[in-house]
């Protein structure tokens, strides 16, 4: 009878082996997936007892802090209120986490370093969150929010340091106050507000027709391929047929044959539409992709809270590659034809030109600092792509200086500082009087330290009149 007993033990070994395998499956193989399951509230519950780190602006201003109540549970509050609602988001036990609060959750709850946590546990220490210092500038952010709200119904502004990709301003109007959203009824009401959409971060989630600001992309492609120079002569008369349909210039003005530099300064649609047609869809696609179009931004922000900038013609009313048969390349080249770009994307266009053609990855986090003040992690400058040759960047900069000096963007001038920029005005479906206006630009032109994109929706007027002064004020503050 001993042989079957031995075999029974072998069977028991197998069964216990299976138990060990299934335990390993959940604790190791699938652990990460289960930990991040949205129905799993374990992390949030544990995080309630951990002092979540501070979030600060670039000057040290506290944007988010946690305070402990009598029961030992921490509560989040936002001293700057609505100022940084969109870029920073919120973190509440009941309704979850969004935006930078979500993206940097591991750092803020001190889960970044597994080894120290285990050692700390053995020593009986409690986990503590690290502080996150952002690149955001409170004064410039305030200017952006206030001036957009004055100028129009809604809008957004993004300001970047073109050398590093640091996001100095990310403003979206209408705003919301994260301290109010804590109440789930207020959150539901904000979610239902279809006319104002206060929870939508327009800097990242809304694609606006970029209008003439996109001519910077077209100019870059034209010059960088060597097919054109700023002096190339193109026929700028009104009503040139583009894809078989006549295209109008602003005020129906005819320009005759003019060079590219003048055409950008005066924002001549027919010139750039023809340039785009001559370059072709494939070339346009290549340069658009280098600038970051057609894919999500590489920002340290939850991917599902960001939109890619795409071309979505009608038909087929959804995003298609720029080489699609539906795309009217001429109209796309002047920022129409279904092109939808986020303010961040257009700020990156300006930043790429400003930084000699080298586009840096945008980032909101400057560094992560632990409780003892030691820097745990620094987010430095990282190259996203090389968009153009330095010579092309210099040529396009020269053209953009002309826009501000003598063209449509004179209201962006800063006394004593050379500004380069481009205006944009896109008619909306609400009629030709209501426009989405734009300004993108950078300064100082000879040694750029700040690149900016401003868009205001629902304006009766032009980008040069409404968006350019806002961009100027933001840049002036940031250059101070």
């Amino acid at each position: 009878m001993n042989k079957p007993i031995g075999r029974l033990f072998a069977a028991a070994l197998l069964m216990f082996g299976a138990l060990l395998v299934s335990t390993s499956w959940w604790t190791v193989v699938r652990a990460d997936r289960l930990d991040h399951d949205t129905a799993n509230h374990r992390g949030v519950l544990r995080a309630l007892k951990i002092r979540r780190g501070l979030i600060r602006a670039d000057d040290g201003t506290v944007i988010a802090r946690s305070t402990r109540d009598a029961e030992g549970v921490y509560h989040r509050s936002y001293p700057t209120g609505a100022l940084f609602g969109h870029p920073v988001g919120y973190s509440y036990a009941g309704i979850g986490q969004t935006e930078l609060e979500r993206e940097r959750n591991d750092e803020l709850t001190g889960r970044t370093n597994a080894i120290t946590t285990t050692v700390d546990q053995l020593l009986g220490h409690k986990a503590e969150g690290d502080d996150v210092r952002t690149t955001l500038d409170p004064k410039a952010q305030r200017i952006a929010l206030d001036e957009i709200a004055q100028a129009g119904r809604s809008g957004a502004a993004v300001a970047l340091d073109p050398r590093t990709g640091a996001v100095k301003v990310m403003a979206s109007t209408p705003t919301y106050d994260p301290n109010v959203i804590k109440d789930s009824k207020a959150l539901a009401a904000a979610n239902r507000d279809e006319s104002r959409k206060p929870l939508v971060n327009r800097a990242l989630q809304f694609g606006y027709a970029p209008g003439s600001t996109f001519k910077v992309v077209t100019s870059t492609a034209a010059i960088d391929t060597g097919r054109f120079t700023p002096q190339s002569q193109v026929d700028g008369k009104n009503g040139v047929k583009i894809s078989g349909v006549p295209l109008a210039n602003d005020f129906g003005r005819s320009f005759g044959t003019i060079d590219l530099k003048t055409a950008l300064a005066q924002s001549v649609n027919t010139v750039f539409a023809q340039v785009g047609e001559q370059l072709g869809k494939a070339t346009m696609k290549r340069y658009m992709e280098r600038f970051g179009f057609d894919s999500k931004p590489q920002l340290d922000y939850p991917a599902d809270s960001m939109s890619a900038s795409v071309v979505a013609p009608d038909p087929p009313r959804h995003a298609v590659p720029p080489t699609s048969k539906y795309v009217d390349v001429g109209r796309m080249s002047i920022g129409q034809g279904g092109l939808e770009a986020t303010p961040l994307q257009m700020a990156q266009v300006a930043a790429a030109v400003a930084n000699g053609g080298r586009l840096m990855k945008p980032h909101l986090t400057d560094k992560v600092v632990d409780r003892d003040g030691r820097t745990v992690k620094t987010v430095g400058a990282q190259l996203q792509s090389t968009v153009m040759k330095p010579s092309t960047a210099a040529a396009v900069t020269d053209m953009m200086i002309a826009v501000v000096q003598s063209g449509t963007g004179t209201k962006a001038q800063i006394p004593g500082t050379q500004v380069a920029g481009k205006t944009g005005t896109a008619e909306t479906e609400f009629g030709d009087k209501i426009n989405n206006v734009w300004f993108i630009g950078f300064a100082p032109a000879e040694n750029p330290r700040i690149a900016v994109a401003v868009t205001v929706a629902g304006v009766t007027g032009f980008g040069g009149d409404f968006a350019a002064p806002i961009a100027r004020d933001i840049m002036e503050e940031l250059l101070r």
Partner: protein, 452 residues
Amino acid sequence: MSARNRELFALIPAALLVSAGFAAVFLSRDDLLGGLSGTNRVSNVSLTYGAIFLGLCVAAHLVLRVTLRHADPYLFPLCALLASFGLVEIYRIDDGLARLQAQWFVIGLILFAGTIILLRDYRRLERYRYLIAIGGIALLLLPRAFPPVNGAYLSIRIGSLSVQPAEFAKIAMVIFLASYLRDTRQLLVTAGRRVVGVTIPPLKHFGPLLVIWGTSMLLLFYIRDIGSSVMFFGAFLAMIYVATDRLSFVVVGVGIFALGGYLVAGHIGHIADRVDAWRHPFDPKLLQRASGGSYQLAQGLWAQADGGVLGQGFGQAVLRISGNPECVSTVDCSLLPAPHTDFIYAVIVNELGLAGAAGLLGVYLLVVQRGFKIAMLARDSFSKLLATGLTSVFAIQVFVIVGGVTKLIPLTGVTLPFVSYGGSSVLANFVLLALLLLVSDRARRPDTGAGA
């Protein structure tokens, strides 16, 4: 070193585990107090717990030293280790429960000593096999007279006590089968006709086996207790396999059990629910269902994922939904339902990680190994079958609950032997342990000894 001295020394790790475990739980609770007073309290109380536990184990050891000099020296310390593991974890969940559990341990140890002293010649049990079998079935049917708990007739409440008769019935069933199969094993193998290579035993001998199968089905259908049903039938198959050395019995047995289970399960809602929950534990619809859903299983899996490789540490895991003032005891408002009984394995993995789980499973495997070793050393068929049956039922119980909690098999509620909270479970397992040690003592006794 003599067997009994080895046993005595092997108890030290269990006592250390209790001290260290209580210290860890205290530390995690009193971290806010700090200071000297806090530290003193930790060391004093945890050492006291460790000392009391060691004292009780030493007392049981002395009984073994006097009565069963030759018994396996490792079995008792291994079970003490499991018990201390459970006690610390239960204390961490709810200190009131831990006090009750400690009382159950005292009663369990008395029952353990009583079993050993009264059943010195355990082979007397054979004489009462039918009485034991009927008693076992009666125990199983008893809960039917009481209202069901979670859709199953598992336990009966007497005052504040909840008793699960199935825990004792499993032992009765093993004793009966060991005795019965001892008599009929030869007949089962030789007396039958061979049909397509399978020996069909005469109906006369086959009958009682059908009764066992019927009992298992009855358990499933009438008591609605899949866990006990699987345990019973699994132990039965293990014993008949050892008795006959014929795999065909096992194959046919598994077949008819599966068939019966399939037919019966279709008619019992809560079994179909369990299978649904097992297949799709993270399905939002099943997760949110008030009863019969997968909430418990999903929470258990999340708890394990939360533990990872090394765990959150003793006393560190998230157990309670905080901020609810209505919660007095942790058990009432636990994030994970039944953390102290069925799901204690998930809590252990949560706190001690895969490493702790591997250690725990390792201890169980060592117990099983000792059990089968005793079966091999035993000199007569009844002893061999008894040890095999007891060990199998123990191993299957661990497999059923740990497999259920880790989603290896559909979840059925049985206790984790010696670790889970529960009086019946503690008492029954101490009886099981006593029987194994009795068999072991006889098996290892030198030939020159008297025997009986």
